[in-house]
């Protein structure tokens, strides 16, 4: 029943905890303290995006809602404010340091209040009064929230949280394989075996006892290379590695082999930490295309399971070539004995 316990947690703070992996407690408490502030900041980011978009898409409607006349001048002003909102929203959501972008919101709030104040003095009819004063009250409230969060973020918790949040993405995956820990360890410890189930890894070459050279297929046909070194090697228990200085994508990882209860084989826990190109946004986009490392780790573990349990990875007719193609026999002549090594993509 545990055959497919897959835990998926990337990004911020809490993760599915893998056994025997200890994280600094100090860092954890700081993270916990920073989390609500960050979540609020994120909320503000989305709010900015939504408001900015609606100001650009439906300026007249919005003008009516807040009780401002919809003449060309106020419409132009509305669009300008919309662009500013979009900028601060994107900044908050995508940048690692959020504080400056929230301060930008505070500045924006002050401008908005000034604009609304002028609308009050310029009004001729009393019809839009309710909406206008409603809008002012709302902006005052939001300003207070912005100010509060900007101050908290600037007080330094922001940076710690940001470092762990987005520069390093963490992917934890686990699968239960019906094979002894010794066997799984032995297979994994020979790093040159890794390309057999890691879809994106083209090759791993051992340079010496501890160092290896990795070649990986990146997005858009890019070839990414780095050298890695072995950090931990506990026989039949755990292996960890990290990339050396000058790697294209700074990354590290660990794998643990835990004997599964009830004679079910081995739980294989994998944790991968990496610099996501483009930060969180980049990771989110990669996820849409199924190219995000935690998704790839998931699929890789499944292939490892097949390889160790059956000795081969089954191919369907639609998985022989790269990309989407119909489920029908291939025109290419296929050599079954080379299939496992070659046509994995």
């Amino acid at each position: 029943m545990l055959q497919h316990t897959i835990s998926t947690t990337t990004t911020t703070g809490v993760r599915a905890t893998s056994p025997r992996l200890h994280r600094g407690e100090r860092e954890a408490t700081i993270l916990q303290r920073a989390r609500p502030t960050n979540r609020l900041a994120q909320g503000l980011g989305w709010f900015s995006l939504a408001l900015g978009l609606s100001q650009l898409v439906a300026p007249r409607g919005l003008a009516r809602i807040i009780g401002v006349r919809d003449n060309p001048r106020s419409i132009a002003g509305m669009a300008a404010v919309g662009i500013r909102e979009l900028a601060s929203g994107l900044g908050i959501l995508t940048r690692t340091r959020r504080a400056p972008w929230v301060w930008m919101r505070v500045g924006g709030d002050v401008i908005d209040l000034a604009l609304l104040g002028r609308a009050v003095t310029e009004r001729r009819r009393r019809r839009g009064d309710m909406q206008l004063f409603g809008a002012i009250t709302a902006v005052v409230g939001v300003t207070a929230l912005d100010l509060f969060i900007a101050q908290r973020l600037s007080r330094g918790t922001d940076d710690v949280a940001a470092r762990t949040r987005s520069q390093k993405q963490v992917a934890t995956k686990v699968i239960t394989i019906n094979a002894a820990p010794e066997e799984v360890y032995r297979f994994w410890r020979d790093f040159e075996n890794l390309p057999r189930f890691m879809k994106n890894v083209a090759s791993v070459t051992m340079l010496d006892d501890r160092r290896s050279r990795w070649v990986v297929h990146g997005p858009a046909g890019l070839r990414i290379e780095w050298d890695a070194e072995l950090v931990t090697d506990r026989v039949n228990e755990a292996i960890s590695w990290r990339s050396l200085e000058g790697a294209d994508v700074d990354n590290s990882g660990s794998v643990q082999f835990v004997r599964a209860p009830g004679g079910r084989g081995t739980e294989v826990w994998v944790e991968i930490r990496y610099d996501a190109p483009g930060g969180r946004m980049g990771a989110a986009i990669a996820k849409l295309f199924g190219k995000e490392p935690s998704q790839q780790a998931h699929a890789d573990l499944r292939r490892l399971k097949q390889l160790l349990e059956v000795g081969e990875i089954v191919h369907s007719d639609s998985s022989i070539h790269h990309g989407l193609h119909p489920a029908r026999p291939s025109r290419m002549r296929i050599n079954p004995s080379r299939m496992q090594k070659e046509v994995l993509r």
Binding site: Q3, V310, D317, S318, H325, P326, A327
Partner: protein, 394 residues
């Protein structure tokens, strides 16, 4: 070779495609001698199942002769060898993963090559199936002259001499599917079993229910010849357009309702003015607000006797709406469903065929050449010409 290929909604064509070849160690190539169109193929034909690609080879009910085996099956006095005559179950299974060892073959953990996709849609992936969307692995199907069968020494059922294709072909899907639907009902001697849908799976479910000892079986449909076929098999026919299903079921059970209900219809329930909810479903489907039309599920929940069992062999693919789950819960009903774990039943059912207990060929109404396949899809869908089951000879 020639194969029936899906080319979009209501567009199936005979195409010339490359012959299949051995790709993995446990593969075999089967030369197809008989292949059938399944009711669930019509969901593909009508474009209701997601993740089809133009050019996919259809078909998951087929049998034939082994003409080539992979390196792992050669020699060793293996279970399968060239020349064997086999029925190939529609579920591809490895036989070794935890689910296979429990007999849950249709949820084999290894054979679905597109697990990521299926995980996203269903939470967990199920087994690979022949010719049935990329969600279930993207395997080329059996409405063709040849098929590549992965894990060929696991699921395929060897057929002894003296039995015709027509007698054994349905061991690969609809016969075990109807059988499992009835077994899931835990039938007891005083039970009334109501079966919605008198298509091929419904026909087998009715006969299975009687063989398993049900007191009476009720067939609910609107196609006279299908109801006639059900009646010939011992069921009580109810024409849902001419009489009220609920009233008839009440009469037949002295007001108690059937103890066991089987949905052999699935996601494309009949749309008709008699059932307002079916019009509602059709409208929502057109607006893409609902993927399946669950009229039968609703009616079963309402009709079933409290503490009864609902068994659903009919195929559903996505989301359903307005399900009277209050009735389901308050009446304490049990719902059992799933793709068929074909190999759980094949040994017993093959023996029943050999012993003459049942001859599954009774459902066949049309036998044609593969070339006529595209036209038969239409005939079968429209239930024209008395069509119940089509067998093609490639």
């Amino acid at each position: 070779m020639r194969a029936l290929c899906w080319n979009g909604k209501k567009n199936v064509r005979v195409e010339h495609v490359p012959d299949p070849q051995i790709i993995d160690q446990h593969d075999a190539i089967v030369k197809v001698t008989s292949t059938a169109i399944c009711g669930s193929d019509l969901h593909l034909y009508n474009g209701l199942m997601p993740t089809m690609e133009r050019g996919d080879i259809l078909g998951h009910e087929f049998m034939g002769e082994v003409v080539e085996v992979g390196p792992d099956l050669q020699g060793k006095g293996g279970k399968l060898k060239v020349g064997d005559r086999v029925v190939v179950p529609f579920t591809i299974c490895c036989g070794e993963c935890e689910q296979c060892r429990r007999g849950n073959f249709s949820v084999c953990e290894r054979t679905n090559r597109n697990k990521e996709l299926a995980d996203q849609l269903f939470g967990h992936a199920t087994a690979g199936l022949f010719g049935y969307t990329h969600l279930t692995g993207g395997y080329a199907g059996g409405q063709a002259e040849y098929v590549r069968v992965p894990y060929a020494d696991v699921a395929p059922v060897k057929i002894p001499d003296g039995l015709t294709d027509e007698q054994v072909l349905f061991l690969g899907d609809i016969f075990p599917t109807g059988w499992q639907a009835a077994v899931q009902c835990d039938i007891e001697p005083q039970d009334t079993v109501a079966v919605w849908g008198a298509g091929p799976v419904g026909q087998f479910a009715m006969r299975a229910a009687l063989l398993l000892g049900a007191k009476q079986v009720v067939a609910i449909d609107c196609v006279p010849e299908r109801l006639g076929m059900a009646e010939a098999g011992g069921a009580i026919p109810v024409h849902f357009e001419e009489e009220s299903v609920l009233e008839r079921l009440g009469e037949l059970t002295q007001g108690r309702g059937p103890e066991k209900c089987i949905d052999a219809v699935g996601l494309e329930a009949h749309v008709g003015a008699k059932h307002l909810d079916s019009l509602y479903d059709r409208a929502k489907q057109a607006m893409m607000l609902e993927s399946d039309r669950p009229h039968v599920l609703r009616e079963m929940m309402y009709a079933c006797r409290p503490a009864g069992i609902l068994s659903v062999p009919g195929v559903y693919g996505g989301l359903v709406d307005k399900i009277p789950f209050g009735a389901m819960m308050q009446k304490g009903l049990t719902l059992r469903t799933g793709q068929t774990h074909v190999n759980r039943w094949t040994d017993d059912l093959l023996k029943m065929i050999q012993d003459g207990v049942i001859d599954p060929s009774f459902v066949i109404t049309h036998t044609v050449d593969l070339e006529d396949g595209p036209a038969m899809y239409e005939t079968f869908r429209d239930k024209e010409d008395g069509c119940v089951k089509v067998v093609m000879k490639p």
